[in-house]
């Protein structure tokens, strides 16, 4: 399995996309911290990258990689290797590639300029988001055989989780403004990994604002020790469940 992972990583590096992505992240990370006056503001700008670019790149890259290495996968399947081993190796290799790019690109400037709790949670959320969207990419690419449709599906998933979901939530908040909707809303937003990651960051950066009216709900729901545990468990589930679905499908699929 280790050999297989090594092979896939080599294959990924051949395409150079991941290297360009690393350079892009590094350029952004360094410029953000050298331009912004305070490290908290820098972390805030990084948050936008983590919530937008990292998911997009992770899901599209993973998706395209699977489609492009179809022949390779077919070849592997013809060998005496278990299908789950093949799929696991590809997934782990993709995870390593995407997260290593993030750690090199963003991790180093964060460690240098903002080596505090905020920096740490920036890194942690970035790693989680990268992993989640890689798992979603595998799921998307296994559902449809057609490449264009697969990529379309990935973009739709990304768009839904980053933009449309929040729009719906805001709409609901205003529709049901007269009802005690705090808890259901907190619950709904915790179902979206991007929202969950964002709220965890908010708790770090906008702490004083969050102590206001909604503070109680925020703190009760997300801010205490159990909140952190629940957040991490939910984010883990977002990695495991899509991947698990894709694994089952891959095992049964007629390539």
């Amino acid at each position: 399995m280790n050999k297989l992972i090594g092979l896939v990583i080599k294959d990924i590096l051949k395409s150079k996309v991941i290297i360009i992505y690393t350079l892009f992240l590094a350029a952004f990370g360094w410029s953000v911290f050298s331009l912004e006056s305070s490290s908290a503001k820098g972390a805030l700008s990084l948050l936008n990258i983590i919530l937008l670019s990292v998911p997009l790149v992770s899901i599209i890259f993973g998706n395209i990689y699977i489609y492009n290495s179809r022949e390779f996968i077919e070849l592997l399947v013809s060998q005496p290797i278990k299908r789950s081993t093949i799929w696991n190796s590809i997934f782990i290799a993709l995870l390593i590639a995407v997260n290593l790019a993030f750690l090199i690109g963003i991790g180093i400037p964060v460690m240098i300029f903002s080596s505090n709790l905020i920096g740490l949670s920036v890194l942690l959320t970035g790693l989680f988001i990268g992993s989640i969207f890689t798992a979603l990419a595998l799921m998307g690419s296994i559902i449809t055989k057609d490449k264009a449709r697969g990529i379309g599906l990935s973009i739709m998933i990304w768009l839904f989780l980053t933009l449309i979901y929040d729009g719906l939530l805001l709409f609901l908040m205003f529709q049901f403004a007269d009802y005690p909707i705090e808890k259901p809303m907190a619950l709904f937003s915790s179902l979206n990994p991007i929202d969950l990651a964002r709220i965890q960051m908010l708790l770090q950066i906008d702490e004083s604002a969050l102590m206001g009216y909604t503070g109680a709900i925020f703190k009760k729901f997300f801010g205490n020790f159990y909140g952190y545990i629940i957040t991490i468990v939910l984010l883990m589930l977002w990695v495991i469940i899509p991947y698990w679905i894709s694994l089952i499908k891959f095992k049964k699929k007629d390539l």
């Binding site: 006056s37 305070s38 908290a40 503001k41 805030l44 948050l47 936008n48 919530l51 937008l52 980053t162 933009l163 929040d166 729009g167 939530l169 805001l170 908040m173 205003f174 403004a177 909707i181 705090e182 809303m185 907190a186 937003s189 991007i194 929202d195 964002r198 709220i199 960051m201 908010l202 906008d206 702490e207 004083s208 604002a209 969050l210 102590m211 206001g212 009216y213 909604t214 503070g215 109680a216 709900i217 925020f218």
Partner: protein, 413 residues
Amino acid sequence: MIRLLYVILLLLFISNIVQAKQIQVGSKHQYKTIKAAIDSALDGDTIFINSGMYKECPVIVDKKITMIGVDRPILDGEHKHEVVSIKADSVVFKGFRIQNSGVSSINDIGGIKVYDRRWVSIVDNVLDNNFFAIYLQYSKHCLVKDNIIKSNAHDEQNSGNGIHCWKSDSLQIIHNVIEGHRDGIYFEFVKESIVWRNIARNNIRYGLHFMFSHNDSYFTNIFENNGAGIAVMYTKHVFMANNTFINNTGDACYGLLLKDISDSYIKGNRFQGNTIAMFLEGANRNIITKNIITENGWGMKVQANCEDNQIFENNFTANTFDVATNGSLVMSYFKKNYWDKYEGYDLDKDGIGDIPYHPLSVYSYVIEQNPISMLLFRSFMVTLMDRTERLIPSITPEAFVDLTPAFKPYKYD
């Protein structure tokens, strides 16, 4: 004849000096109790109370005497009595530890209470676990200085204020530390007074709370981590300079709540880490300038019922929201403030941004109407909304604008 008059005057003077005697109190001295010493004292005498525990409260000081604690004697109220009642002018009360006053919901029991007196000095005492610590009523020209006041109040009903002044005049409250009371410093109908170099922290309600207290000045105080911050109300001509308001966080908690404050001057203060740094409600004709407003949830909430406030040359940095309001009417003026969220340019290099700045973010407006939507703050969609609104303002009031934003932060530190 005139010579004789001189002699008589001189004699009178000397006799006065001779009369002012010193009285020692303590287990090894002539007087064992403070009460006996006060009974035998005359106006102008000095009583030295040596260290030890004195449980003879209430101690009533009804002569113009100086009371000095040697090695900090302890006066204990045994959770029943008022500890010290000052009922004479010109009393000096210095160097004691006052502890465990009674608690009452009918009487305002004080650790040290001054009744309708002038020229009283309360200096260098430690007040521990009292209901009201220092209480001045109908007093004038009194000095409260260098006291350390602590309590461990749990709820507002069963706790009193640290320094409580009522219907007084010309007071000096200098360099006291107040912790764990209901309100740190409480003024009601107190005029022409000065509050200087005090620290009020961890009080369960307000660090500083005053009402109807005109023409007072507050310099170089620190108000930190109080349950509801600082609230000042119904007052004219307040001067607040060089104070620090930090970490007053919570729902309905304000760094500085200005309710019906008018014609006042708020200059050079530092607001850091508060939920709402400054909240103006019904505040008129105030000058708010040269303040540092940083790392707060809301830098300034200016309600629509405020009029003619001049807000200029302040630094707004690293706040979640710089300003917010509740209506569309804006009658206060922002100019030459530094906003770290300003994205304009300065082509003519005069230090003033060339395009006006609209500090009101549309989302702060949304949150004002629907607080739960804070849950979506900093999401991509909200960022898009904010950007659109900055380009084409349609929801936020057009008059809420800084026409001449400063391009670089002012160096006040």
